[in-house]
Amino acid sequence: MISPRLAWLLVALGALMLVLAPIDLTGIGIPYPGLKRYGTYIMTLWLVTAIAAMGVNLIVGYAGLETLAQAAFVGIGAYVTALMVKAGWPFGLAFLASGVAAFAVGIMLGFPALRVRKHYLAFVTLAFSVLAWLVFRNEQWLTGGVMGIGDISRPTLFGHTLRRHVDFYWFVLAITAVLTFALWWIIRSPWGRAFTALRENPIRAESLGVDVRLYTLLAFAIGSAYGGLAGSLYAPLVEFIDPNPFALGPSLLFMLMVVVGGAGRFAGPFVGAAVAVLLPEWLRFAEGFYLLIYAVLVMTMMAFCPTGIMGLAERLLPARRRPTAAATAPLLGEAKP
Protein backbone atom coordinates (compact mmCIF):
# COMPACT_ATOMS: atom_id res chain seq x y z
CA MET A 1 0.00 0.00 0.00
CA ILE A 2 0.89 3.66 0.06
CA SER A 3 3.11 5.11 2.74
CA PRO A 4 1.58 6.79 5.82
CA ARG A 5 2.86 10.24 4.85
CA LEU A 6 1.34 9.98 1.38
CA ALA A 7 -1.88 8.66 2.91
CA TRP A 8 -2.15 11.69 5.21
CA LEU A 9 -1.44 13.95 2.23
CA LEU A 10 -4.22 12.27 0.23
CA VAL A 11 -6.64 12.60 3.14
CA ALA A 12 -5.78 16.29 3.54
CA LEU A 13 -6.16 16.85 -0.20
CA GLY A 14 -9.49 15.03 -0.23
CA ALA A 15 -10.71 17.08 2.72
CA LEU A 16 -9.65 20.31 0.99
CA MET A 17 -11.52 19.31 -2.16
CA LEU A 18 -14.63 18.53 -0.12
CA VAL A 19 -14.42 21.91 1.63
CA LEU A 20 -14.00 23.77 -1.68
CA ALA A 21 -16.55 21.69 -3.62
CA PRO A 22 -19.42 24.19 -3.48
CA ILE A 23 -17.27 27.29 -4.16
CA ASP A 24 -16.90 29.06 -7.49
CA LEU A 25 -13.15 29.06 -8.16
CA THR A 26 -13.16 30.82 -11.54
CA GLY A 27 -12.30 34.08 -9.71
CA ILE A 28 -8.82 32.79 -8.80
CA GLY A 29 -8.09 31.29 -12.20
CA ILE A 30 -9.28 27.72 -11.72
CA PRO A 31 -11.97 26.75 -14.23
CA TYR A 32 -14.36 25.24 -11.66
CA PRO A 33 -17.77 26.85 -11.30
CA GLY A 34 -18.61 25.20 -7.95
CA LEU A 35 -21.60 23.07 -7.11
CA LYS A 36 -25.08 24.45 -7.59
CA ARG A 37 -27.76 24.38 -4.91
CA TYR A 38 -28.91 20.88 -5.80
CA GLY A 39 -25.38 19.54 -6.10
CA THR A 40 -24.54 20.83 -2.64
CA TYR A 41 -27.70 19.22 -1.29
CA ILE A 42 -26.74 15.86 -2.81
CA MET A 43 -23.21 16.11 -1.41
CA THR A 44 -24.66 16.79 2.06
CA LEU A 45 -26.97 13.80 1.67
CA TRP A 46 -23.93 11.71 0.75
CA LEU A 47 -22.14 12.75 3.95
CA VAL A 48 -25.19 12.01 6.09
CA THR A 49 -25.60 8.61 4.44
CA ALA A 50 -21.91 7.91 4.95
CA ILE A 51 -22.23 8.59 8.70
CA ALA A 52 -25.01 6.02 9.03
CA ALA A 53 -23.04 3.61 6.82
CA MET A 54 -19.97 4.05 9.07
CA GLY A 55 -22.12 2.75 11.92
CA VAL A 56 -23.13 -0.27 9.83
CA ASN A 57 -19.50 -0.83 8.94
CA LEU A 58 -18.54 -0.92 12.63
CA ILE A 59 -21.26 -3.50 13.30
CA VAL A 60 -20.84 -5.59 10.16
CA GLY A 61 -17.30 -5.03 9.03
CA TYR A 62 -15.43 -4.78 12.32
CA ALA A 63 -17.54 -6.68 14.85
CA GLY A 64 -18.81 -9.25 12.35
CA LEU A 65 -22.49 -8.91 13.28
CA GLU A 66 -25.45 -8.23 11.05
CA THR A 67 -27.83 -5.30 11.31
CA LEU A 68 -30.94 -4.88 9.21
CA ALA A 69 -32.27 -1.88 11.09
CA GLN A 70 -29.94 1.06 10.42
CA ALA A 71 -32.66 3.04 8.62
CA ALA A 72 -34.86 2.63 11.72
CA PHE A 73 -32.09 4.14 13.86
CA VAL A 74 -31.71 6.98 11.36
CA GLY A 75 -35.47 7.41 11.76
CA ILE A 76 -35.22 7.54 15.55
CA GLY A 77 -32.58 10.26 15.29
CA ALA A 78 -34.55 12.19 12.68
CA TYR A 79 -37.79 12.15 14.68
CA VAL A 80 -36.09 12.99 18.00
CA THR A 81 -34.36 15.97 16.38
CA ALA A 82 -37.44 17.11 14.47
CA LEU A 83 -39.65 16.98 17.57
CA MET A 84 -37.10 18.66 19.86
CA VAL A 85 -36.29 21.44 17.38
CA LYS A 86 -40.01 21.98 16.81
CA ALA A 87 -40.47 22.25 20.58
CA GLY A 88 -37.84 24.98 20.71
CA TRP A 89 -34.82 23.08 22.02
CA PRO A 90 -31.43 24.00 20.56
CA PHE A 91 -30.09 21.75 17.80
CA GLY A 92 -26.95 20.78 19.71
CA LEU A 93 -29.02 19.22 22.46
CA ALA A 94 -31.30 17.49 19.95
CA PHE A 95 -28.24 16.11 18.14
CA LEU A 96 -26.85 14.60 21.35
CA ALA A 97 -30.26 13.29 22.38
CA SER A 98 -30.63 11.58 18.98
CA GLY A 99 -27.35 9.76 19.42
CA VAL A 100 -28.14 8.79 23.01
CA ALA A 101 -31.63 7.58 22.06
CA ALA A 102 -30.28 5.38 19.26
CA PHE A 103 -27.53 4.08 21.55
CA ALA A 104 -30.04 3.18 24.28
CA VAL A 105 -32.41 1.47 21.86
CA GLY A 106 -29.43 -0.37 20.37
CA ILE A 107 -28.51 -1.72 23.80
CA MET A 108 -32.10 -2.72 24.54
CA LEU A 109 -32.29 -4.50 21.19
CA GLY A 110 -28.96 -6.21 21.33
CA PHE A 111 -29.08 -7.38 24.92
CA PRO A 112 -31.87 -9.96 24.65
CA ALA A 113 -30.78 -11.08 21.20
CA LEU A 114 -27.23 -11.76 22.34
CA ARG A 115 -28.43 -13.54 25.43
CA VAL A 116 -29.54 -16.27 23.08
CA ARG A 117 -27.11 -16.41 20.21
CA LYS A 118 -25.19 -13.97 18.08
CA HIS A 119 -26.86 -15.10 14.89
CA TYR A 120 -30.32 -14.08 16.04
CA LEU A 121 -29.41 -10.41 16.28
CA ALA A 122 -30.08 -10.09 12.53
CA PHE A 123 -33.57 -11.53 12.90
CA VAL A 124 -34.38 -9.30 15.85
CA THR A 125 -33.14 -6.19 14.00
CA LEU A 126 -35.30 -7.14 11.04
CA ALA A 127 -38.38 -7.35 13.25
CA PHE A 128 -37.40 -4.13 15.02
CA SER A 129 -36.99 -2.35 11.70
CA VAL A 130 -40.59 -3.07 10.71
CA LEU A 131 -41.92 -2.33 14.21
CA ALA A 132 -40.19 1.05 14.29
CA TRP A 133 -41.64 1.89 10.88
CA LEU A 134 -45.13 0.97 12.12
CA VAL A 135 -44.71 3.29 15.09
CA PHE A 136 -43.50 6.15 12.83
CA ARG A 137 -46.50 5.60 10.57
CA ASN A 138 -49.24 4.99 13.13
CA GLU A 139 -48.51 7.33 16.04
CA GLN A 140 -49.93 10.38 14.31
CA TRP A 141 -50.13 12.47 17.46
CA LEU A 142 -46.35 12.28 17.75
CA THR A 143 -44.86 11.71 14.29
CA GLY A 144 -47.58 13.11 12.04
CA GLY A 145 -48.11 9.66 10.52
CA VAL A 146 -47.83 9.44 6.74
CA MET A 147 -48.16 13.22 6.53
CA GLY A 148 -44.81 13.49 8.31
CA ILE A 149 -43.29 16.53 9.98
CA GLY A 150 -42.53 19.59 7.87
CA ASP A 151 -40.69 22.89 8.27
CA ILE A 152 -37.85 21.54 10.36
CA SER A 153 -35.62 24.56 10.72
CA ARG A 154 -31.87 24.34 10.25
CA PRO A 155 -29.66 25.05 13.23
CA THR A 156 -27.87 28.28 14.01
CA LEU A 157 -24.20 28.34 14.93
CA PHE A 158 -22.98 31.19 17.19
CA GLY A 159 -25.92 33.29 16.08
CA HIS A 160 -25.20 32.57 12.43
CA THR A 161 -28.01 30.71 10.69
CA LEU A 162 -27.19 27.71 8.52
CA ARG A 163 -30.20 28.15 6.26
CA ARG A 164 -28.07 28.35 3.11
CA HIS A 165 -27.26 24.99 1.56
CA VAL A 166 -23.55 25.79 1.45
CA ASP A 167 -23.37 26.70 5.14
CA PHE A 168 -25.24 23.59 6.16
CA TYR A 169 -22.96 21.51 3.93
CA TRP A 170 -19.86 22.80 5.73
CA PHE A 171 -21.55 22.22 9.07
CA VAL A 172 -22.31 18.58 8.15
CA LEU A 173 -18.80 18.18 6.70
CA ALA A 174 -17.26 19.31 9.99
CA ILE A 175 -19.44 16.91 11.99
CA THR A 176 -18.62 14.10 9.58
CA ALA A 177 -14.92 14.81 10.07
CA VAL A 178 -15.30 14.66 13.86
CA LEU A 179 -17.33 11.44 13.73
CA THR A 180 -14.91 9.87 11.27
CA PHE A 181 -12.01 10.70 13.54
CA ALA A 182 -13.91 9.34 16.56
CA LEU A 183 -14.57 6.06 14.78
CA TRP A 184 -10.96 5.82 13.63
CA TRP A 185 -9.90 6.32 17.23
CA ILE A 186 -12.37 3.70 18.48
CA ILE A 187 -11.14 1.15 15.96
CA ARG A 188 -7.50 1.79 16.85
CA SER A 189 -8.16 1.66 20.59
CA PRO A 190 -8.13 -1.59 22.59
CA TRP A 191 -11.90 -1.55 22.18
CA GLY A 192 -11.61 -1.63 18.44
CA ARG A 193 -9.02 -4.39 18.57
CA ALA A 194 -11.45 -6.35 20.72
CA PHE A 195 -14.20 -5.84 18.12
CA THR A 196 -11.94 -7.21 15.41
CA ALA A 197 -10.91 -10.10 17.61
CA LEU A 198 -14.59 -10.94 18.05
CA ARG A 199 -15.09 -11.05 14.32
CA GLU A 200 -12.05 -13.15 13.62
CA ASN A 201 -12.42 -15.72 16.36
CA PRO A 202 -14.93 -15.21 19.19
CA ILE A 203 -13.86 -18.28 21.13
CA ARG A 204 -10.20 -17.28 21.11
CA ALA A 205 -11.14 -13.72 21.99
CA GLU A 206 -13.08 -14.96 24.98
CA SER A 207 -10.19 -17.14 26.11
CA LEU A 208 -7.98 -14.04 26.01
CA GLY A 209 -10.29 -12.31 28.44
CA VAL A 210 -12.42 -10.23 26.09
CA ASP A 211 -15.94 -9.95 27.46
CA VAL A 212 -17.62 -11.09 24.25
CA ARG A 213 -21.15 -10.08 25.16
CA LEU A 214 -20.23 -6.64 26.41
CA TYR A 215 -18.09 -5.76 23.40
CA THR A 216 -20.58 -7.14 20.90
CA LEU A 217 -23.27 -5.09 22.53
CA LEU A 218 -21.09 -1.97 22.55
CA ALA A 219 -20.21 -2.34 18.88
CA PHE A 220 -23.88 -2.69 18.04
CA ALA A 221 -24.93 0.25 20.20
CA ILE A 222 -22.19 2.59 18.89
CA GLY A 223 -23.00 1.66 15.31
CA SER A 224 -26.67 2.34 15.96
CA ALA A 225 -25.81 5.67 17.61
CA TYR A 226 -24.06 6.68 14.36
CA GLY A 227 -27.38 5.95 12.65
CA GLY A 228 -29.17 8.20 15.13
CA LEU A 229 -26.67 11.02 14.64
CA ALA A 230 -27.02 10.73 10.85
CA GLY A 231 -30.78 10.95 11.27
CA SER A 232 -30.36 14.07 13.38
CA LEU A 233 -28.59 15.73 10.43
CA TYR A 234 -30.99 14.27 7.88
CA ALA A 235 -34.06 15.96 9.39
CA PRO A 236 -32.83 19.56 9.04
CA LEU A 237 -31.21 18.74 5.67
CA VAL A 238 -34.45 17.60 4.02
CA GLU A 239 -36.55 19.87 6.30
CA PHE A 240 -39.36 17.30 6.06
CA ILE A 241 -39.54 13.72 7.30
CA ASP A 242 -42.07 10.95 6.77
CA PRO A 243 -41.84 7.20 7.59
CA ASN A 244 -40.80 6.00 4.10
CA PRO A 245 -37.01 6.49 4.24
CA PHE A 246 -36.91 4.57 7.52
CA ALA A 247 -38.61 1.35 6.38
CA LEU A 248 -37.10 -2.12 6.04
CA GLY A 249 -36.09 -1.62 2.40
CA PRO A 250 -33.73 1.30 3.12
CA SER A 251 -32.24 -0.67 6.02
CA LEU A 252 -31.38 -3.46 3.63
CA LEU A 253 -29.90 -0.88 1.25
CA PHE A 254 -27.60 0.37 4.03
CA MET A 255 -26.35 -3.17 4.41
CA LEU A 256 -25.77 -3.45 0.63
CA MET A 257 -24.02 -0.09 0.59
CA VAL A 258 -21.47 -1.09 3.20
CA VAL A 259 -20.69 -4.44 1.63
CA VAL A 260 -20.42 -2.87 -1.83
CA GLY A 261 -18.04 -0.22 -0.52
CA GLY A 262 -16.02 -2.80 1.38
CA ALA A 263 -17.05 -4.03 4.81
CA GLY A 264 -14.25 -3.78 7.35
CA ARG A 265 -12.41 -1.18 5.26
CA PHE A 266 -12.34 2.23 6.82
CA ALA A 267 -13.13 4.14 3.62
CA GLY A 268 -15.73 1.54 2.57
CA PRO A 269 -18.82 3.37 3.83
CA PHE A 270 -17.86 6.56 1.96
CA VAL A 271 -17.40 4.66 -1.27
CA GLY A 272 -20.59 2.65 -0.72
CA ALA A 273 -22.60 5.77 0.09
CA ALA A 274 -21.19 7.45 -3.02
CA VAL A 275 -22.38 4.52 -5.14
CA ALA A 276 -25.81 4.67 -3.51
CA VAL A 277 -26.31 8.46 -3.43
CA LEU A 278 -24.06 10.14 -6.01
CA LEU A 279 -24.01 7.56 -8.79
CA PRO A 280 -27.79 7.65 -9.44
CA GLU A 281 -27.44 11.39 -10.09
CA TRP A 282 -24.85 10.79 -12.80
CA LEU A 283 -26.87 7.92 -14.21
CA ARG A 284 -30.00 10.05 -14.60
CA PHE A 285 -30.37 8.83 -18.20
CA ALA A 286 -30.91 5.30 -16.91
CA GLU A 287 -33.85 6.53 -14.77
CA GLY A 288 -35.87 3.61 -13.41
CA PHE A 289 -33.36 1.09 -14.64
CA TYR A 290 -30.70 2.39 -12.30
CA LEU A 291 -31.76 0.06 -9.50
CA LEU A 292 -31.74 -2.88 -11.92
CA ILE A 293 -28.17 -2.10 -12.93
CA TYR A 294 -27.20 -1.60 -9.30
CA ALA A 295 -28.71 -4.95 -8.25
CA VAL A 296 -26.92 -6.83 -11.02
CA LEU A 297 -23.63 -5.12 -10.14
CA VAL A 298 -23.99 -6.07 -6.49
CA MET A 299 -24.70 -9.71 -7.35
CA THR A 300 -21.74 -9.85 -9.73
CA MET A 301 -19.50 -8.22 -7.18
CA MET A 302 -20.52 -10.65 -4.44
CA ALA A 303 -19.65 -13.55 -6.72
CA PHE A 304 -16.23 -12.29 -7.79
CA CYS A 305 -15.12 -9.84 -5.15
CA PRO A 306 -17.09 -10.10 -1.89
CA THR A 307 -14.67 -7.65 -0.25
CA GLY A 308 -16.30 -4.75 -2.11
CA ILE A 309 -14.87 -1.87 -4.12
CA MET A 310 -12.15 -1.15 -1.56
CA GLY A 311 -11.14 -4.81 -1.63
CA LEU A 312 -11.02 -4.66 -5.40
CA ALA A 313 -8.88 -1.53 -5.28
CA GLU A 314 -6.45 -3.23 -2.91
CA ARG A 315 -6.21 -6.13 -5.27
CA LEU A 316 -5.55 -3.90 -8.28
CA LEU A 317 -3.09 -1.53 -6.60
CA PRO A 318 0.49 -2.79 -6.43
CA ALA A 319 0.59 -5.00 -3.39
CA ARG A 320 3.07 -3.48 -0.98
CA ARG A 321 0.88 -4.53 1.89
CA ARG A 322 1.68 -2.75 5.09
CA PRO A 323 -1.04 -2.03 7.60
CA THR A 324 -0.57 1.57 8.61
CA ALA A 325 -2.22 3.73 11.18
CA ALA A 326 -3.17 6.31 8.59
CA ALA A 327 -6.79 7.36 8.40
CA THR A 328 -7.23 5.77 5.02
CA ALA A 329 -5.56 2.48 5.91
CA PRO A 330 -8.12 0.13 4.49
CA LEU A 331 -6.36 -2.95 5.81
CA LEU A 332 -6.96 -1.99 9.38
CA GLY A 333 -9.93 -4.24 9.76
CA GLU A 334 -7.98 -7.15 8.43
CA ALA A 335 -5.06 -6.93 10.79
CA LYS A 336 -4.62 -10.41 12.14
CA PRO A 337 -3.37 -10.88 15.69
Partner: protein, 292 residues
Protein backbone atom coordinates in the same frame (compact mmCIF):
# COMPACT_ATOMS: atom_id res chain seq x y z
CA UNK B 1 -68.26 -16.91 17.85
CA UNK B 2 -69.34 -17.06 14.21
CA UNK B 3 -67.08 -14.08 13.54
CA UNK B 4 -64.23 -15.81 15.27
CA UNK B 5 -64.66 -18.99 13.21
CA UNK B 6 -64.80 -16.94 10.01
CA UNK B 7 -61.60 -15.15 10.95
CA UNK B 8 -60.02 -18.45 11.87
CA UNK B 9 -60.82 -20.01 8.49
CA UNK B 10 -59.63 -17.06 6.44
CA UNK B 11 -56.53 -16.91 8.68
CA UNK B 12 -55.82 -20.57 8.04
CA UNK B 13 -56.22 -19.97 4.30
CA UNK B 14 -53.61 -17.20 4.16
CA UNK B 15 -51.54 -19.10 6.74
CA UNK B 16 -51.44 -22.15 4.48
CA UNK B 17 -50.05 -19.94 1.71
CA UNK B 18 -47.42 -18.50 4.07
CA UNK B 19 -46.59 -22.08 5.03
CA UNK B 20 -45.84 -22.94 1.39
CA UNK B 21 -43.36 -20.06 1.17
CA UNK B 22 -41.91 -20.88 4.59
CA UNK B 23 -41.36 -24.55 3.72
CA UNK B 24 -39.36 -23.54 0.64
CA UNK B 25 -37.39 -21.15 2.80
CA UNK B 26 -36.44 -23.83 5.35
CA UNK B 27 -35.68 -26.40 2.63
CA UNK B 28 -33.18 -23.99 1.03
CA UNK B 29 -31.63 -23.28 4.40
CA UNK B 30 -31.30 -26.96 5.26
CA UNK B 31 -29.73 -28.13 2.04
CA UNK B 32 -27.56 -25.18 1.06
CA UNK B 33 -27.41 -22.72 4.00
CA UNK B 34 -29.11 -20.17 1.76
CA UNK B 35 -31.06 -17.54 3.70
CA UNK B 36 -33.16 -16.36 0.80
CA UNK B 37 -34.07 -12.73 1.35
CA UNK B 38 -35.81 -12.73 -2.04
CA UNK B 39 -38.33 -15.41 -0.98
CA UNK B 40 -41.16 -12.84 -0.91
CA UNK B 41 -40.31 -11.76 -4.45
CA UNK B 42 -40.22 -15.44 -5.44
CA UNK B 43 -43.88 -15.56 -4.39
CA UNK B 44 -44.66 -12.27 -6.12
CA UNK B 45 -43.12 -13.12 -9.51
CA UNK B 46 -44.94 -16.28 -10.78
CA UNK B 47 -48.29 -14.44 -10.84
CA UNK B 48 -46.71 -12.09 -13.36
CA UNK B 49 -45.51 -15.01 -15.49
CA UNK B 50 -49.17 -16.06 -15.62
CA UNK B 51 -50.32 -12.51 -16.37
CA UNK B 52 -47.81 -12.20 -19.21
CA UNK B 53 -49.02 -15.50 -20.66
CA UNK B 54 -52.63 -14.34 -20.45
CA UNK B 55 -52.48 -10.70 -21.53
CA UNK B 56 -49.51 -10.68 -23.93
CA UNK B 57 -49.93 -14.16 -25.42
CA UNK B 58 -53.70 -14.45 -24.98
CA UNK B 59 -53.57 -17.91 -23.43
CA UNK B 60 -56.34 -19.29 -21.21
CA UNK B 61 -55.89 -19.15 -17.44
CA UNK B 62 -55.25 -22.88 -16.92
CA UNK B 63 -52.40 -22.88 -19.47
CA UNK B 64 -51.03 -19.70 -17.94
CA UNK B 65 -50.87 -21.37 -14.53
CA UNK B 66 -48.84 -24.25 -15.96
CA UNK B 67 -46.56 -21.80 -17.75
CA UNK B 68 -46.11 -19.86 -14.51
CA UNK B 69 -45.04 -22.99 -12.65
CA UNK B 70 -42.64 -24.10 -15.40
CA UNK B 71 -41.14 -20.61 -15.77
CA UNK B 72 -40.59 -20.28 -12.04
CA UNK B 73 -38.90 -23.70 -11.98
CA UNK B 74 -36.56 -22.47 -14.70
CA UNK B 75 -35.95 -18.94 -13.39
CA UNK B 76 -36.41 -19.19 -9.62
CA UNK B 77 -35.17 -22.77 -9.41
CA UNK B 78 -32.52 -23.57 -11.97
CA UNK B 79 -31.24 -20.06 -12.78
CA UNK B 80 -31.26 -18.99 -9.15
CA UNK B 81 -29.22 -22.04 -8.23
CA UNK B 82 -26.72 -21.87 -11.08
CA UNK B 83 -26.28 -18.11 -11.54
CA UNK B 84 -26.75 -16.70 -8.03
CA UNK B 85 -26.14 -19.34 -5.37
CA UNK B 86 -23.54 -21.60 -6.96
CA UNK B 87 -20.79 -18.99 -7.44
CA UNK B 88 -21.38 -17.68 -3.92
CA UNK B 89 -21.64 -20.80 -1.83
CA UNK B 90 -17.90 -20.76 -1.11
CA UNK B 91 -17.92 -17.11 -0.06
CA UNK B 92 -19.97 -17.81 3.07
CA UNK B 93 -23.37 -16.79 4.38
CA UNK B 94 -23.07 -13.00 4.36
CA UNK B 95 -22.23 -12.41 0.66
CA UNK B 96 -25.04 -14.78 -0.25
CA UNK B 97 -27.45 -12.85 1.97
CA UNK B 98 -26.36 -9.60 0.32
CA UNK B 99 -26.76 -11.16 -3.10
CA UNK B 100 -30.31 -12.33 -2.40
CA UNK B 101 -31.17 -8.86 -1.07
CA UNK B 102 -29.92 -7.46 -4.38
CA UNK B 103 -31.91 -10.13 -6.22
CA UNK B 104 -35.07 -9.03 -4.41
CA UNK B 105 -34.45 -5.46 -5.60
CA UNK B 106 -33.83 -6.76 -9.12
CA UNK B 107 -37.05 -8.79 -9.28
CA UNK B 108 -39.15 -6.02 -7.75
CA UNK B 109 -37.82 -3.27 -10.00
CA UNK B 110 -37.84 -5.61 -13.00
CA UNK B 111 -41.55 -6.35 -12.64
CA UNK B 112 -42.26 -2.66 -12.08
CA UNK B 113 -40.36 -1.55 -15.17
CA UNK B 114 -41.31 -4.39 -17.50
CA UNK B 115 -44.91 -5.08 -16.58
CA UNK B 116 -46.60 -2.46 -14.44
CA UNK B 117 -46.34 -0.50 -11.23
CA UNK B 118 -50.09 -0.87 -10.63
CA UNK B 119 -51.77 -3.68 -8.70
CA UNK B 120 -53.17 -6.19 -11.20
CA UNK B 121 -56.40 -8.15 -10.68
CA UNK B 122 -55.72 -11.86 -10.87
CA UNK B 123 -58.29 -14.55 -11.76
CA UNK B 124 -59.20 -16.95 -9.00
CA UNK B 125 -59.10 -20.72 -9.33
CA UNK B 126 -62.32 -21.11 -7.40
CA UNK B 127 -65.80 -19.59 -7.78
CA UNK B 128 -66.42 -16.73 -5.39
CA UNK B 129 -69.41 -18.31 -3.63
CA UNK B 130 -70.17 -17.93 0.05
CA UNK B 131 -71.72 -20.91 1.82
CA UNK B 132 -73.44 -20.70 5.14
CA UNK B 133 -72.59 -23.60 7.39
CA UNK B 134 -74.35 -23.53 10.78
CA UNK B 135 -74.44 -19.74 10.80
CA UNK B 136 -70.81 -19.33 9.75
CA UNK B 137 -70.28 -17.75 6.35
CA UNK B 138 -67.55 -19.73 4.59
CA UNK B 139 -66.09 -18.51 1.33
CA UNK B 140 -65.59 -21.32 -1.15
CA UNK B 141 -62.44 -19.58 -2.42
CA UNK B 142 -60.89 -19.82 1.03
CA UNK B 143 -61.77 -23.47 1.38
CA UNK B 144 -60.29 -24.05 -2.07
CA UNK B 145 -57.06 -22.32 -1.06
CA UNK B 146 -56.88 -24.44 2.07
CA UNK B 147 -57.48 -27.66 0.14
CA UNK B 148 -54.89 -26.91 -2.56
CA UNK B 149 -52.28 -25.70 -0.08
CA UNK B 150 -52.73 -28.69 2.20
CA UNK B 151 -52.78 -31.01 -0.78
CA UNK B 152 -49.43 -29.58 -1.85
CA UNK B 153 -47.99 -29.92 1.64
CA UNK B 154 -49.19 -33.51 2.02
CA UNK B 155 -47.78 -34.40 -1.40
CA UNK B 156 -44.45 -32.84 -0.45
CA UNK B 157 -44.32 -34.66 2.88
CA UNK B 158 -45.10 -37.91 1.10
CA UNK B 159 -42.39 -37.20 -1.48
CA UNK B 160 -39.78 -36.38 1.17
CA UNK B 161 -40.66 -39.30 3.40
CA UNK B 162 -41.68 -42.13 1.13
CA UNK B 163 -39.72 -41.84 -2.12
CA UNK B 164 -36.10 -42.69 -2.67
CA UNK B 165 -35.24 -39.22 -3.98
CA UNK B 166 -37.05 -37.61 -1.07
CA UNK B 167 -35.07 -39.58 1.48
CA UNK B 168 -31.85 -38.80 -0.33
CA UNK B 169 -32.80 -35.12 -0.12
CA UNK B 170 -33.35 -35.46 3.62
CA UNK B 171 -29.99 -37.16 4.00
CA UNK B 172 -28.37 -34.29 2.08
CA UNK B 173 -30.04 -31.77 4.36
CA UNK B 174 -28.96 -33.54 7.52
CA UNK B 175 -25.35 -34.23 6.62
CA UNK B 176 -24.08 -33.63 3.11
CA UNK B 177 -20.69 -35.21 3.76
CA UNK B 178 -22.05 -38.52 5.00
CA UNK B 179 -24.72 -38.45 2.30
CA UNK B 180 -22.00 -38.12 -0.33
CA UNK B 181 -20.06 -41.02 1.18
CA UNK B 182 -23.21 -43.13 1.04
CA UNK B 183 -23.48 -42.43 -2.68
CA UNK B 184 -26.17 -39.77 -2.68
CA UNK B 185 -25.72 -37.40 -5.63
CA UNK B 186 -25.65 -34.38 -3.33
CA UNK B 187 -25.42 -31.75 -6.07
CA UNK B 188 -28.50 -33.09 -7.83
CA UNK B 189 -30.42 -33.25 -4.55
CA UNK B 190 -29.62 -29.60 -3.88
CA UNK B 191 -30.89 -28.73 -7.35
CA UNK B 192 -34.14 -30.64 -6.63
CA UNK B 193 -34.56 -28.59 -3.46
CA UNK B 194 -34.31 -25.39 -5.48
CA UNK B 195 -36.85 -26.68 -8.00
CA UNK B 196 -39.25 -27.67 -5.21
CA UNK B 197 -38.86 -24.24 -3.63
CA UNK B 198 -39.72 -22.66 -7.00
CA UNK B 199 -42.85 -24.82 -7.36
CA UNK B 200 -43.97 -24.00 -3.81
CA UNK B 201 -43.43 -20.29 -4.49
CA UNK B 202 -45.43 -20.53 -7.73
CA UNK B 203 -48.30 -22.32 -5.95
CA UNK B 204 -48.30 -19.71 -3.20
CA UNK B 205 -48.25 -16.95 -5.82
CA UNK B 206 -51.24 -18.30 -7.73
CA UNK B 207 -53.20 -18.85 -4.52
CA UNK B 208 -52.48 -15.47 -2.92
CA UNK B 209 -52.66 -13.14 -5.93
CA UNK B 210 -56.49 -13.27 -6.27
CA UNK B 211 -56.70 -12.19 -2.62
CA UNK B 212 -54.07 -9.43 -2.48
CA UNK B 213 -53.91 -8.56 -6.21
CA UNK B 214 -50.63 -9.01 -8.06
CA UNK B 215 -48.27 -6.12 -7.34
CA UNK B 216 -44.52 -5.74 -7.66
CA UNK B 217 -44.15 -4.72 -4.01
CA UNK B 218 -46.12 -7.67 -2.58
CA UNK B 219 -42.90 -9.53 -1.87
CA UNK B 220 -42.01 -7.32 1.10
CA UNK B 221 -44.87 -8.43 3.34
CA UNK B 222 -44.98 -11.98 1.92
CA UNK B 223 -41.26 -12.48 2.46
CA UNK B 224 -41.52 -11.17 6.00
CA UNK B 225 -44.41 -13.53 6.74
CA UNK B 226 -42.48 -16.52 5.35
CA UNK B 227 -39.39 -15.49 7.28
CA UNK B 228 -41.27 -15.10 10.56
CA UNK B 229 -43.18 -18.34 9.99
CA UNK B 230 -39.97 -20.26 9.37
CA UNK B 231 -38.26 -18.97 12.52
CA UNK B 232 -41.32 -19.26 14.76
CA UNK B 233 -41.93 -22.82 13.65
CA UNK B 234 -38.31 -23.89 13.80
CA UNK B 235 -35.73 -23.09 11.17
CA UNK B 236 -34.65 -26.68 10.69
CA UNK B 237 -38.01 -28.40 10.43
CA UNK B 238 -40.48 -28.63 7.55
CA UNK B 239 -43.23 -29.40 10.07
CA UNK B 240 -42.21 -26.26 11.93
CA UNK B 241 -42.67 -24.12 8.83
CA UNK B 242 -46.20 -25.49 8.36
CA UNK B 243 -47.19 -24.77 11.96
CA UNK B 244 -45.44 -21.40 11.84
CA UNK B 245 -47.20 -20.41 8.62
CA UNK B 246 -50.66 -21.35 9.88
CA UNK B 247 -50.00 -19.65 13.21
CA UNK B 248 -48.84 -16.41 11.57
CA UNK B 249 -51.86 -16.41 9.23
CA UNK B 250 -54.32 -16.88 12.08
CA UNK B 251 -52.57 -14.51 14.50
CA UNK B 252 -52.35 -11.84 11.80
CA UNK B 253 -56.06 -12.12 11.03
CA UNK B 254 -57.18 -12.14 14.65
CA UNK B 255 -54.87 -9.23 15.47
CA UNK B 256 -56.43 -7.19 12.66
CA UNK B 257 -59.89 -7.86 14.08
CA UNK B 258 -59.31 -7.68 17.82
CA UNK B 259 -56.13 -5.64 18.41
CA UNK B 260 -55.82 -2.90 15.80
CA UNK B 261 -55.69 -2.80 12.02
CA UNK B 262 -52.79 -0.39 11.94
CA UNK B 263 -50.67 -2.64 14.18
CA UNK B 264 -51.68 -6.02 12.74
CA UNK B 265 -48.22 -6.44 11.24
CA UNK B 266 -46.63 -5.89 14.63
CA UNK B 267 -48.21 -8.90 16.31
CA UNK B 268 -46.39 -11.61 14.30
CA UNK B 269 -43.14 -9.67 14.80
CA UNK B 270 -43.60 -9.52 18.55
CA UNK B 271 -44.31 -13.25 18.43
CA UNK B 272 -41.03 -13.64 16.54
CA UNK B 273 -39.05 -11.72 19.16
CA UNK B 274 -40.71 -13.68 21.98
CA UNK B 275 -39.85 -16.97 20.28
CA UNK B 276 -36.24 -15.90 19.79
CA UNK B 277 -36.00 -14.99 23.47
CA UNK B 278 -37.70 -17.98 25.03
CA UNK B 279 -37.50 -20.79 22.51
CA UNK B 280 -34.82 -19.90 19.95
CA UNK B 281 -34.97 -23.25 18.20
CA UNK B 282 -38.62 -22.52 17.28
CA UNK B 283 -41.81 -24.21 18.35
CA UNK B 284 -41.01 -27.55 16.75
CA UNK B 285 -37.32 -27.15 16.03
CA UNK B 286 -34.43 -29.17 17.38
CA UNK B 287 -31.47 -27.45 18.91
CA UNK B 288 -28.78 -27.18 16.30
CA UNK B 289 -25.34 -28.17 17.42
CA UNK B 290 -23.74 -26.59 14.39
CA UNK B 291 -21.25 -23.86 15.27
CA UNK B 292 -22.31 -20.70 13.48
Amino acid sequence: MADFLQLLISGLATGAIYALAAIGFTLLWQTSQTINFAQGEFVMLPAFFALVAMTWLGLPFAVAVVIAIVCSMLVLGLMFKVVVVQPLIKQGVLPLVISTIALSVLLKEGVKDVYSAEAQPFPTLFPDVTLSVAGVAVSLAQVGVLVVAFGTIVALQWFLGATRIGRQMQATAQNPTVARILGVPVERMILYTFLINAVLAAMASILISPIYLAKFSNGESLGLAAFVAAIVGGFNQVRGAIVGGLLIGVVDNLAAAYVSTSYRQAVPLILLVAIILFRPQGLLGRREERAV
